[in-house]
């Protein structure tokens, strides 16, 4: 099969774009890297989340909001396509606040974001301790918990099932998915692109670079300077427990499997996925301050993933000017944004160019030299 388009990177971003393209009758080839690669898609937390996001970038707040709105339909369609349940829940989400000052600070942060949004009903509210306890019957909160912010649009899904479902749906739609197919080089070949893999070359009329932290080197070869750096996030996951936490919280959620996910830290900017007991200790302590009964629960796995960070932390969606037909898609909230990636972004790429809604996310915002 000669593909219409090759997506480089089989993580949550690449797979969602590829899925959206395949649903639009594009002949898609998805190339994924090695088994041991840095994979944010396998390390992430699974929140479909809006509250607190997009400071100083209203376009990001808006993009995130529309993705959370699109997620239910995206999930229904993907579950039907793949036969894999994603366990999406969008009943709201919490950010626990310790101490009255913590609560007040959270309120001011969210207010600031709300003001930048320019109108509309707030999609969050502050809960004091009594209100929070009503929302979480059966959860004994630690004495320091003063309350929480509650985001109406927030939720969570199973990120590993999301990734598996995207891959299965792609295969069922006739796309080609290849693991252990690392792209080493991209060369222009007339209007097409030649992709050099270990021991073989492929050509493609169009490409999407969604290779996470591996994207900078590839994007440069098609004339796009994409500055990226890793940010380590360490996550803890416990044994399975009977369901007790009805809502996800930032940094603490109970999965559909019953395990508790805790995290993630932001600690370190190297290509280093080792974990530190220091981080496990500090995450455990914060968690047991919120829900003391978790002290008796066993940690089963502790891992570190690398977030894919741009200089301002917001996504990059761009088409190369020097090499039309070459796109990049990079972000660090690939689960939340999956619904947008599979619809609006895939649509635009299928049609051949990114509309204005995506222009705030062009990489050229980093090309402008800082005014002295």
């Amino acid at each position: 099969m000669q593909p219409d388009i090759v997506v480089i990177g089989g993580g949550t971003v690449g797979a969602a774009v590829a899925y959206g393209l395949a649903m639009r009758r594009q002949k898609v080839l998805l190339l994924d890297g090695d088994d041991g690669d840095f994979r944010a898609a396998r390390a992430n937390f699974g929140l479909v989340w809006l509250q607190g996001k997009g400071l100083d970038m209203p376009a990001y707040q808006a993009l995130t909001r529309s993705s959370t709105e699109l997620w239910r339909g995206f999930s229904d369609e993907l579950e039907a396509e793949s036969g894999i349940e994603l366990f999406l829940e969008q009943n709201g989400g919490l950010a626990f606040c310790l101490g009255e000052e913590g609560l007040e600070k959270r309120r001011l942060d969210l207010l600031r974001l709300h003001n930048q949004r320019g109108g509309g009903e707030p999609d969050w509210e502050m809960l004091d301790r009594a209100a929070l306890e009503r929302l979480l019957p059966g959860v004994a909160l630690g004495p320091k918990v003063a309350g929480a912010s509650f985001g109406r649009r927030d939720g969570h899904a199973n990120p590993l099932r999301l990734l598996a479902a995207l891959h299965v749906a792609l295969l069922r739609r006739g796309a080609n998915v290849r693991h252990r197919a690392r792209v080493n080089r991209i060369e222009p070949a007339g209007a097409d692109f030649r992709l050099v893999l270990n021991g073989e070359t492929l050509t493609a009329p169009r490409i999407v670079i969604a290779a996470g932290l591996g994207s900078s080197a590839l994007a440069r070869q098609v004339g796009l300077e994409v500055p990226l750096r890793p940010e380590r996030g360490q996550v803890l996951v416990t044994e399975r427990l009977a369901r007790f936490l009805p809502l996800p919280a930032s940094g603490l959620r109970q999965t559909d499997e019953g395990t508790i996910m805790i995290g993630a830290t932001k600690d370190g900017h190297d290509f280093d996925v080792s974990t530190t007991t220091e981080a496990a200790a500090s995450l455990s302590r914060k968690t047991t301050e919120i829900i003391p009964a978790l002290a008796g629960v066993r940690l089963v796995r502790h891992w570190a993933g690398l977030r894919i960070m741009t200089p301002d932390s917001y996504p990059i969606y761009a088409e190369s000017r020097s090499h039309p037909g070459a796109f990049v898609a990079i972000c660090h909230s690939g689960v939340t944004l999956a619904a947008v990636h599979a619809s609006l972004l895939a649509e635009a790429i299928a049609e051949g160019s990114l509309p204005d809604t995506f222009s705030p996310f062009h990489q050229r915002r980093f090309d402008v030299p800082q005014a002295a």
Binding site: D32, D34, D35, G36, R42, L98, G99, K144, L160, L163, A164, H167, V168, L171, V177, R178, H179, R180, L236, T238, E239, E257, I262, T275, T276, T277, E278, A280, A281, S282, L283, S284, R285, T287, T288, L294, A295, G296, V297, R298, L299, V300, R301, H302, W303
Partner: protein
Amino acid sequence: MTAPHTDLLIVGAGPAGMAAAVTACSHGLSVRVVDDQPAPGGQIWRAIETVASTPRLARLGQAYRAGADRARAFRSCGAVYEPQSELWQIEPGFRAFLTRDGQARSVTADAVILATGAQERPVPFPGWTLPGVLTVGAAQILLKTASTVPERPVWIAGCGPLPLLYMTQLLAAGGQIAGFLDTTPRGRASAALRHLPAGLRRAGELAKGLAWSLALRRAGIPIIRHVTDLRAEGDGRVERLRYRTEDGREGEVTAEVLLVHEGLVPSIHVPLALGCTVEWHPAQHCYVPLLDGWGETSQANLFVAGDGAGIGGAEAAEPRGRLAALRVATRLGKLDAVRAERAAKTERAALARALALRPFLDTLYGPRAQVFAPADETLVCRCEEVTAGALRARAVEGRPGPNQLKAFTRAGMGPCQGRQCGYTMAHIVAAAQNRKVEEVGFFRIRPPLKPVTLGELACLDQREPAA
């Protein structure tokens, strides 16, 4: 709170760990030995100190009795010994994290010897998760530590020295055997004989094996040979076994307890978690850490000794432990290199002697093909309840590696961290993708090496408690 420091930390108080501790102390190193068991001895000499003073000692055999002296020498060598302490993480440097009695803490050391031994090779077949199916090693531990034996005549399936040894020990203790389903494939004996000339250096061991077999035959134990397929059935516990042999003979028997064993594999989780290079051992069908002549891994000052270095038995474990200790003593300036080399010569000779029979045993008792290719309905991952069929189906689509497969199926994500499904998964991937198993790789191993509670972890947090 500063962590207590020793020159050397030894993990495991079996033959390798104890020998290493005695040698290291004799050269003036400060040594700490941690072990998850209540008493020294490791697998072979489990509960030796308790049993040594009872009449039960006699029925466990000569090799077991030898442990009493070793435990005594270890107790008096001057090492700090911490029983019932589980090691769950080591960070470079080295800082090791342990839990004892629900309390976590850390200790530091300049060098580490991992002497954590081996585990039995997982043998998945339909019904292996039913209560009543245990490993032969488990039954032997029950016999040594709890004087506990199967209530009724027991079925034993598998191959290797351990089932033979256990059966003789069980008979001596007054237990009863319903029958032995011998899974050694046809033709293995003659293939193994090629290795015999070298193995004759270990004529004593060979004679022991023959004596066990003879004792079983004399006792009139039914032996069914060349069993290829096995299945345990029952409602909530084992009630029946079905088996099939190489010539297609099938049988069904009633059973309450089935003990299985298909050899040992080194415990590699700690070296893997620490990023040590491992290599595939084709004769033993498992990974072993890459080690130099002293047992040092690819990570400086981190050693592996004993069965964790490759299955060699207790007699190989001891010289390996002493070699590692000699090297650590040299590194830390307690022993000059020339004297270390001289001492190493004796140990290497002992090691070579102890390993002489290995090629013979590895060939004779290498796992049958079915161990790695369980039927689709078989649970491969006991923790997450993932079947062979599910792994197979997913291994074909897109040809993922083991870590992608883990993410897709959750196999290997439970508390045992792939100790029971890792090799089976690797073989299923290899077969589905037509690759060699050693090219497929293994799960990435994450801390903690043993599940630790959030409360134990929280107590390690160094920050001042917020007011």
